[in-house]
Amino acid sequence: MAEILIKNGFVIDPTRNIDGDVADIAIKDDRIAEQVGSGAKVIDARGKVVMAGGVDVHAHVAGPKVNVGRLMRPEDKLFKSPYAQESYRMESGFSIPSTFKTGYDYARMGYAFVMEAAMPPLHSPHVHEEIHDTPIIDQGALPVFANNWFVLEYLKNQEIENSASYVAWLLAATKGYGIKLVNPGGTAAWAWGLNCLTLNDTVPFFDITPAEIITGLMKTNEYLGLPHSIHIHQNSLGTPGNYGVTLDSLRLAEGMKAKNKFSRDTVMHSTHIQFHSYGGDSWGNFESKAREVMDYVNQQKNITVDLGCVTLDETTTMTADGPFEHHLTRLNHLKWANTDVELETAAGVVPYVYDKDIKVCGIQWAIGLELGLYAKDPMRTFITTDHPNAGPFIRYPRIIKWLMSRDAREETLASFKYSSKVIDATNLHAIETERNLYEIAQMTRAGPAKALGLSHMFGGLAPGMEANVVVYDLNYKDMPSDPEMIERAFSRARWFIKSGDIVVKDGDIASHGNKRTFWVNAKVKENPQVIRDIHEKFLKDYTVGLNNYPVWDSLAPNPYVINIDVEA
């Protein structure tokens, strides 16, 4: 690593309110610098856009459910992955790419950090093995907590301190980053073939409700002062009329205050909100409730959301929401994998074809974009596809195209078999908003970095920050009239410098970079009860020994550990 000077590009950096100013970005080793010497490598970015590396707040890219998806879908590879770059590893798969392809494709799009959205703790060594084999990008992983026996028991008794001690222990044991909730209580119920569809359904045996789990974990999170807020996949995902449950869950954040040292001011991240903004009471009268949901998000400043946009592809759904996947396989009759994980969680996987000529798929597509267009604060609304659930992450550039160009949206909408029915059930056709590059930078970089408590490292180009800089082939002053050019530019970065390494040049991988695994080590004072509980549960209920449970350091050989001293 050495010095690099990216000259004369149109710089877009929402963290410093810079919107298209022509400026130079200097890099010294792995940091952005004020200036560099005359010997620096010069990259000419004249007439091109310069942004910080992208930050993905939510994608399923590593771990057991991703891999069961790969394993059970040979057809996802057939004729779909012929790309191999010389001197790099072979690349495979479309909706669930191999780890190598995952790293390469994110880098080609200029992404620097990707959060694996759901880590089953028992399987955490597997998650880290895959992260290890995903080149270039920095990654973290969120362990799932909302159906974990320890957590359910502590929260039932309102023992936030015990809950916090356990969470801290598990984060360290699994090298996890924060608190993920998936279908709180519902997945625990699924172990008996049941579900929790509203916030007040009681979880079988544990005698606690989803609302209590969400509130309890929110308190736990702020007790520990973790960098990220709780990250929730709400109950009743993907069901017509679920927006009511969605709003009820979001309201639980009212009055909650963020307490942390990472300049995070939000307390809840509600993920793939598209799947939770549904009206109607059946697939027959299914309609968009994007406006209702986004109106609330706009005024409730302590929450963030990501979109989970449908991309109209054949893809693979996968989630720790076990009962949902069972519901889905009964709808589309395609193959179904399920893994219930002892004491902790579950997961399901089902292939899904978002066919643009099916009305429901068209409506889902519109809802995702509506949410992205109704958002008043792009710093709290992030672009995702809930990869691979609503579509593969390689479609982010297409989402950006749709958000930036009404023409592109209208063209897609007009190509639907049932476009008038989709128009009737949604508002998209009437929305004229077109997002600009500054807002896109907020929604893909500055915003998610802040929500993850990483705004001091990622999402901006201020001196001292990580040297993650991407140059896109877009002229800020003369944006292309053809929206396809936008998609193309964001798909293949002209240059991408990741932590000071040139990892992409002319859209191709140029280096394996120096990927890191981010995890959070929250030090709490010793809690004998929790330690005793852990020993007891491993002795009696688990089938793996406690000694063999914590992830070895050698599995995350290049860690970036965020240490927190939790005040008693």
């Binding site: 059970m72 879908r73 040979p74 057809e75 996802d76 057939l78 009759h333 395609l334 193959k335």
Partner: protein
């Protein structure tokens, strides 16, 4: 029609993957250009001309191109891969994936074919004078979209897994078939003119199977519903009509479940 003749003159050490023996690839090419086309042997890339003597120029379009392989192709995979038009005749045997992912045109094999003949076929015709190994007209691994159209006729016997995940088209086996016919099928027609050992129509959702010989072991999920006269491949006969697989899910039309049909010729 312009005729291109390929005469094998060298046996490969291992196996050749000849994705390029197809009217779609040959169209518009001279014999010299055709001889320069790539074929794969393991990890090595060689030329079609290294193994075949190529005579004749191809037509302008696939429709106008006729390919004749005058010799044995027991070690040649992927003949007619993804072809859309034109014709191929193989004078001897052909190896795996004959007419795989085929969309149109015609293939005639005078000898036998190995497995995966007509895999995921969408249209066109395959005629095999000899026997076929396993997986005639099947789906690629994991795909729920198997054969969707076209016709495969095997004049001899066929092995197991015929028409797995079939959605449309017709497969005719003129002699006997081994086991597993139309497993998981959701459409299409399979006609076995000889006997089948068993597992006919297992997990079948929709579609038709005709057996003109005997089914040695009927599945318990198939129920006899009556006798019927049907026309099959140009002949009319009396059949015992079964519906099934009763263990499998079925689509409902107007509240009534639609089953798959198995017709076994009455003795």
């Amino acid at each position: 029609m312009a005729l291109v003749t390929l005469k094998p003159y060298k046996t490969p050490e291992l196996y050749l993957e000849c994705y390029n023996i197809s009217p779609d690839v040959f169209a518009g090419k001279t014999s010299a250009e055709i001889a320069e086309l790539d074929v794969r042997e393991g990890k090595t890339t060689v030329k079609l001309g290294d193994f075949f003597e190529v005579k004749g120029n191809a037509g302008k379009t696939p429709e106008e191109t006729e390919i004749r392989v005058s010799g044995d192709c027991s070690r040649i995979k992927y003949i007619g891969n993804k072809m859309t038009a034109g014709s191929i005749t193989v004078d001897g045997n052909a190896d795996m994936y004959l007419g795989g992912w085929m969309k149109g045109g015609k293939i005639h094999v005078l000898g036998n074919v190995h497995s995966f003949c007509g895999i995921a076929m969408e249209g066109g015709e395959i005629l095999v004078d000899g026997n076929a190994e396993n997986y005639v007209g099947c789906a690629y691994r994991g795909d729920w979209r198997g054969m969707r159209g076209g016709t495969i006729r095997i004049r001899g016997n066929a092995g197991n897994d015929i028409g797995t995940f079939m959605l449309g088209g017709t497969i005719i086996v003129e002699k006997n078939a081994f086991i597993h016919v139309s497993t998981h099928a959701e459409g299409g027609t399979v006609i076995i003119k000889g006997d089948v050992q068993g597992r006919v129509g297992g997990q079948m959702v929709k579609g038709d199977i005709y057996v003109l010989g005997a089914v040695q072991h009927m599945l318990p999920g198939f129920k006899k519903v009556g006798m019927t006269e049907r026309e099959v491949d140009g002949m009319t006969a009396k059949f015992t009509h079964y519906i099934g697989d009763l263990g499998e899910r079925h689509l409902k039309v107007k509240g009534k479940e639609v089953y798959a049909n198995l017709y076994v010729m009455a003795a």
